[in-house]
Symmetry: C2
Subunit: 216 residues, 2 copies
């Protein structure tokens, strides 16, 4: 059965999934780059984002970064993961944060209230804009994934919506040794034990603590 997986979603020690004051010039928010230091240090990330051969080829950080791309047939993103948080929803000239050849290379389903025709990018990524809710996005992503898993990219509110419906099968969270102070907390208003989730894996590197939550 195709799983819905959160992978490599990183929070600060104080529980925030992005730095404050996100903007088109600083999509990770203040302090957000430090949040993702563990991922930047991996070969998987360097290759996927920059096309380079740098970064660690082993260790817990690389292991978790790499597993996040394995057996993924489609992605689901909240609207802020596709376009700028502040300001009006980007007009149709906006083609995502990642240039013409995005990191996904599979169909990506963007949750939004603004209908838009599918956007075909280079390298196998097509953005589909879903306006009829999270269950519909999941059904469409599962159909597109061809038996592979669906990766839920974020952000915080999108993950929370799927968790509350117990639709997430497995969730890998990295906790970075960073304080952000402000932002959206992943665990606010989400009682994971009550929803049937437990921590089933716990591995740390010098740059992050990796935990995996699995639904009973």
């Amino acid at each position: 059965m195709s799983q819905l997986r959160v992978e490599s979603f990183t929070i600060s020690l104080d529980g925030f999934g992005a730095g404050p004051r996100q903007s088109i010039d600083n999509p990770l928010g203040v302090g957000g780059t430090a949040l993702h230091g563990w991922a930047f240090a991996t070969r998987t990330f360097q290759k996927a984002v920059f096309g380079g051969e740098g970064g660690a080829t082993e260790g817990a950080d690389e292991d978790f970064a790499a597993r996040g791309f394995r057996n993924i047939g489609a992605w689901i993103l909240g609207r802020n993961m596709f376009g700028p948080v502040r300001g009006p929803w980007p007009d149709e000239s906006w083609r995502g944060w990642w240039g013409e050849n995005p990191v996904y290379h599979v169909p990506v389903f963007v949750l939004t209230h603004h209908a838009r025709a599918p956007l075909v990018m280079e390298g196998g990524t097509t953005f589909h804009f879903v306006t009829d809710g999270i269950a519909s996005a999941l059904a469409q992503a599962r159909a597109a994934a061809g038996g592979k898993d669906v990766r839920l990219g974020g952000g915080v509110q999108t993950i929370q919506q799927y968790l509350r419906e117990r639709l997430v099968d497995e969730m890998h969270i990295a906790i970075a040794p960073v304080l952000l102070g402000l932002g959206e907390r992943l665990f606010d208003g989400v009682d994971l034990p009550a929803l049937g989730y437990a921590c089933t894996q716990h591995v740390a590197s010098p740059l992050a603590t990796h935990v995996v939550f699995t639904r009973k």
Copy 2:
């Protein structure tokens, strides 16, 4: 200068400092024992609490447990750390959670609204009940500590009060690979970066991630 230090205070992955439904029979709350698994596994803890010689004698967990008792001349506790959370404030027959020879062996200042004469225990521990606030408790603890540091034991609300006044000099927090779902969150309503705190140390064991926050 005598420092005010939080040591070995443990939170869950979802940020809670104790399990839900704490009671006189289960002072750590549901799941609270799992929260403190890393500490139970150390020689320092086994010796301090049970007088035994079991537990790990090296490793990050033992290092942090041991440093928590070094150079401590007095403690400060919130009332719930001295007596049961639920029900009326214990009457004067209540002598703390730890029996006649508590783990402290130095003066302990308990924040409370209920005046009570000092309670002299075996082994050097005397409980002093402070009714005029956190600054007074700190001044009294510093005076009693004879140049050594003061350890702030908790709980969550007490630590938050001292953090908001920037009175904590250093704070060691352990994050246990446990979900609690409900309780009091250490970082709720406390913007540590805005208060001048940063994460200055990050070490993990299989049982916990240890972080140290230092005030600028």
